[in-house]
Amino acid sequence: MSSKDHRSISGALAAATCTLLGTATSEPVQAQDEPGWDFNTALLYYAEDDDRVQDLSLNVLSRRVFVDDRFLSLGLTLDALTGASPNGALPQSVPQTFTQPSGRKTYTTPAGDMPIDDTFRDSRVAITANWQQPLGRLYAINVGASASVEYDYTHVGLNARISRDFNKRNTTLSAGLALAQDSLDPVGGAPPGLTQMRNAVDNDDGDGDGDGGNSGPDESKDIVDFVVGVTQVISKNLLVQVNYSYSDASGYLNDPYKILSVVDGTSGDAVPIAPVPGVDSPSHLNFYEHRPDSRRKHSLYSQAKYYMSGKVLDASYRYMTDDWEIDSHTVDLRLRWPTGESQYLEPHLRFYSQSAAEFYRPHLTDGDPLPAYASADYRLGDFDAITAGLKYGWKTGGGNDMHVRLELYRQSGNIAADQLIGNQLDQDNYPDLNAIILQYGYQFGK
């Protein structure tokens, strides 16, 4: 049936009904969805192999719909993290001892193992609130706030976004701005960049923070994000979006818990420190990392949703480049495949590749002048990652949506051969990562 036929019916029907029912006066209909809450909840389990990080996360996003397409969203996330993270030092052929971030004790990594700091344990509470409403016939605005608290980290943020529809709502332009201020109060204080890892002091150092660490002040960073985007309906079953975003972070951008091994320029082995009786000190020379105090990122993101006889393909690509000289490419593909009246399977593949930050280096070399910036954080290195997952979703007897998904995430990095020295060439210096993501989601009240 052509669109013209579609249009003509309601007028003719109204006339015929009027004839049938006589002159009974009736007001124009007024009906709408009952305003109410709906909820999107998820329980996420994330676990890395080799007893590294594990995270159990509970997420609740609730939405209250009001008349005239206005709504309020409130989000809550609770994270419980345990496990260990690579501290940045290189594996050695002998055991290595490091000072804990608290500065009060040491821990030892066996010979040949990737040094990981296993004192890591944290919980996080994050909340978000957003209000969205139309502004006139073609505009919509969304304003929001966010905050999160961890043991050593707090975040507060504000965001706003405006969009306008054009071309029979086939085109939507949007622009958004987000401001955030994060402050860090690291366990043991924030160490000054590129200074030697301290000795452990088995008592309170008296600086009032209850630990034996650095007495450095709390640190903070400011982040400004700006996004502009266009969403375009191409056809009845194809929708695309392109976003450009700019992000400017300034302030303390170091990871206060990450260090670099200082190695011998010939053998490539970490420089040992002669033990002093009565002093609990690291076994080898390590320096705290130091990153620039500003970072500017540019991202171009594009996404397409394509409907093909019941199946929906969701494909996106992101290119990011920043002034730390990291470039990254991300391709994300999902195919939602209905397997019944109210069930679907959704395979997911994600490919990620990034180049190393310009100041990324696996180690510092003893005797060389100190660089301005250095970090051996694997997340600033050159690596590829792949995610493969499968999601199964279904409608419950009560008309709500449930899903489970299992994903495997694998990172494999490589360090340029010219950055390695001597014995380092014979060993695996990059902490490859394998993780599983298991999520159960439940949406109700819609």
Binding site: M1, S3, D5, H6, R7, S8, I9, S10, A12, L13, A14, A16, T17, T19, L20, L21, G22, A24, T25, S26, E27, P28, V29, Q30, A31, Q32, D33, E34, P35, G36, E341, K395, G397, G398, G399
Partner: protein, 302 residues
């Protein structure tokens, strides 16, 4: 049907901020909610609505011997002259047949002899459907108000319009008889008369999903106007993994495939809402786009 008629009577009880009258008509539970103080007034309005519902049921039900529908269907090919109200309904049906390009057809009831929608998996053979289809088609009927003639074996019925028509008619009588805000519900076909005063809106539950056990309801706020639902999440036929709606396409004799399980439409009158929801189901996969084009508010359940 006879059992139902034997049970004709109304009940009135105090509801939540209103009086609630109940009765049974047209194979459905019916109710009248009125924002009135007085039980007697509520009883009067319910009686008014029930009497009209029963009148229309008796007059237009295809199960009642000797009524106008029986006379038409048993005419055996001869012409039948009908009264004004029946003629108006037939005129309406003829108009709907025209503007829906044959999707709405009051002669399609014959197909129900070969199609049984009991949730089972038996479907009739092609020959059986083709045979029945010979007796279907408003185009084969001669209608010149007020005289109708159709070939022997053809039948008409107002099953697709009767309840909506009845609730609109009853609403007209209630509206004249009282200044109160009332909600009439004839088995899921609703009319709200005047905006309610004691509440924001009438909360109307519509079936949200196939689920015999839980009776899932989605709530709609209805202030004034008509609301009707077509399709039925529970009445369907499964055959070789394909789900057939119980709504038959009179042009093919086969049930609609790829139609929403049910569609609820809000319109100025229940009759309009009912016609739009029925026609939407008969658009199959294009049901939603059809309704988008009509500029009405609707709730589709796929």
């Amino acid at each position: 049907m006879n059992a139902a008629r034997a049970a004709r009577g109304i009940d009135v009880a105090r509801g939540d901020g209103c009086w609630r009258g109940q009765f049974f008509a047209m194979a459905s539970p019916c109710e009248v909610l009125c924002e009135v103080e007085d039980a007697a007034e509520a009883r009067h309005l319910t009686q008014l609505a029930a009497t009209e519902a029963w009148r229309i049921e008796d007059k237009f039900s295809r199960y009642v011997p000797g009524n106008v529908i029986s006379r038409i269907n048993e005419a055996g090919g001869s012409a039948v002259s009908v009264d004004t109200e029946t003629a108006q309904l037939i005129d309406f049906a003829a108009t709907l047949y025209e503007i829906s390009a044959g999707r709405f057809d009051i002669t399609s009831g014959v197909l129900r002899r070969v199609w049984r929608f009991d949730g089972g998996g038996k479907i009739p053979g092609k020959a059986e459907v083709a045979e029945a289809l010979q007796y279907v088609g408003w185009g084969k009927v001669t209608w010149k108000t007020p005289v109708l003639r159709m070939k022997k074996g053809m039948e008409i019925d107002f099953g697709g319009i009767g309840k909506e028509f009845a609730v609109d008619r009853a609403a007209g009588l209630v509206r004249e008889a009282s200044a109160a805000s009332c909600l009439l519900n004839f088995g899921g076909d609703l009319v709200a008369i005047r905006k309610p005063v004691l509440r924001d809106a009438w909360k109307v539950g519509i079936e949200a999903l196939e689920s015999a056990a839980t009776d899932v309801q989605k709530l709609i706020d209805l202030k004034v106007g008509g609301l009707a639902t077509s399709g039925d999440a529970r009445r369907f036929l499964m055959h070789e993994g394909v789900r057939y709606s119980h709504i038959l396409d009179p042009r093919t004799g086969w049930p609609m495939r790829n139609a929403p399980r049910s569609i609820t439409v809000a319109a100025d009158t229940c009759t309009q809402a009912g016609m739009l929801s029925t026609l939407a189901i008969l658009e199959g996969v294009a049901a939603e786009s059809f309704l988008d084009a009509q500029g009405v508010r609707y709730w589709a359940n796929r």
